[in-house]
Symmetry: C2
Subunit: 249 residues, 2 copies
DNA sequence: CGGCCTTTTTGATCCACGTCAATGCTGACA
DNA sequence: TGTCAGCATTGACGTGGATCAAAAAGGCCG
């Protein structure tokens, strides 16, 4: 097995390659993928910037190389719900279609690996392997979305916060190629408001629940953005999940 | 265009075929799919029955031929969240993997078209076209899931109910191959409890909001399970969506 | 260091929805 | 016809989280 899971939703990435691009990095697999290598180009975005995937003469399929971006949906009156976190190796932009009613925004500085949509489609035609990989990734994404639906529909504010922290802790551990430790410490890559948009809460509630978890000794805070988890087990319990970690970390 | 959209989440089905199985029906496409035809077999389930996709010597990938089934996730303490509605043409059971932490339950009597998982995988290998179709369907499903996340995270109870009714109305219209009408009338295929599980509400709230919509003249009820929508436009407004119908009905 | 801006925390209050409990409705069956 | 079992509705009440408002804590830059 040369692929390792490193993503909060179980998506697989190439473990050998610093880019960690399962479906894109040509170093990680057979010659078929060399095609992709020739077609790709890079773009970078600053934190806070909106990432436009379609414009005049520009329709992309892209995948994140580094940094974090978010996918957000908005109601007319301004209510916002984040529906996806784009982490390195994630794809965005639908190969076959024009759609995309999502805002894509860079949370940190982001580098994306882009393909012109039309070009990408022909490559997919010629290289079934790529389609298979995309299918795998999309199924993972779907599983993650469904887990998130459970969170949004049925969890309490406290459980929501705990769940998010667990996910971030796991992702952090995975990025640094560490196994499951009972103690963990990591930076929050999101503002309270972004967390709220993700969890279907208000930023005040997010802040209050984080304070509560701190007061109860479940987490410690260093400044406002760094979290220390003395006992991972305890945090996971707070998340209310049956999964003691479906993810193999 | 021989495929028509008929599903609430925009999934495409073969319009020429009564089975409406885009990815399964061999009549609807090139010879490649004949392979699938040989490998498939059918099973049927009664309303209320749990659909087991894996057991001793039985690992399926299956797709719904007729009837409605639901995908549900459960928390230890019994809180339930429905995460998917399986309608004719929908697939369930992950081709490549063993997972599936979902309850699959028949809502009405259901007929499913099944493939042994291993067999299905080899067919996919040999027939890239099938993989491409599954990718399309999965992407549609993902879009639907994301829309649902917006609903779960940010909509009020009344908006949730209205959204669900709009979806059911559209699906009904599509199944009967009718276009968008301003007046509509259809049966609810779900109990109040199932609606609650789907919307992240309690059954009491569902009942109350339906009563409220009726009181306000947005809908009419015939008995308890049949809904009459005098003005579709109005119901859609109640749903709070920006989309005046992203679906082309 | 001091001013300015953004993010975060905290408090007071409100209300949408959950909870608990009673009642009604419908259909199956003897 | 009565009884029973499942939905469904309705009411009374409590509460988790939203809302509104203000203070505190960081950056950032002169």
């Amino acid at each position: 097995m040369r692929f390792q899971t490193f993503h909060h939703n179980g998506r697989q990435a190439c473990g050998d390659c610093p880019i960690r691009h399962r479906a894109v990095c040509s170093r990680c697999d057979d010659d078929e993928l060399a095609l992709l290598d020739q077609a790709k180009f890079y773009r970078s975005f600053e934190a806070g910037q909106t990432i436009a995937l379609s414009g005049e003469r520009m329709d992309f399929v892209a995948s994140v190389v580094s940094g974090i971006a978010t996918l957000t949906q908005t109601l007319e009156d301004g209510r916002r719900q984040m529906v996806g976190l784009l982490l390195p190796s994630d794809f965005v932009g639908r190969p076959g279609r024009d759609h995309a009613a999502y805002d894509v925004t860079a949370t940190t500085d982001v580098v994306m690996c882009c393909f012109r949509k039309a070009r990408f489609e022909t490559i997919m035609q010629d290289t079934p392997r790529i389609g298979q990989r995309l299918l795998e990734m999309t199924l993972d994404e779907l599983d993650a979305a469904r887990e998130w639906m459970l969170l949004l529909g049925r969890k309490t504010a406290r459980e929501k916060i705990a769940s998010l922290l667990v996910i971030l802790a796991r992702r952090d551990a995975a990025l640094r190629a560490q196994g499951a430790a009972t103690r963990a410490s990591f930076d929050l890559p999101l503002t309270r408001e972004a967390m709220a948009d993700y969890l279907g809460l208000t930023l005040e509630t997010v802040s209050r629940q984080i304070s509560a978890l701190k007061r109860d000794g479940v987490i410690g805070l260093v400044g406002t953005r760094r979290v220390d988890v003395p006992d991972m087990r305890r945090l996971i319990d707070e998340a209310g999940d049956d999964s003691d970690g479906g993810m193999p970390f």
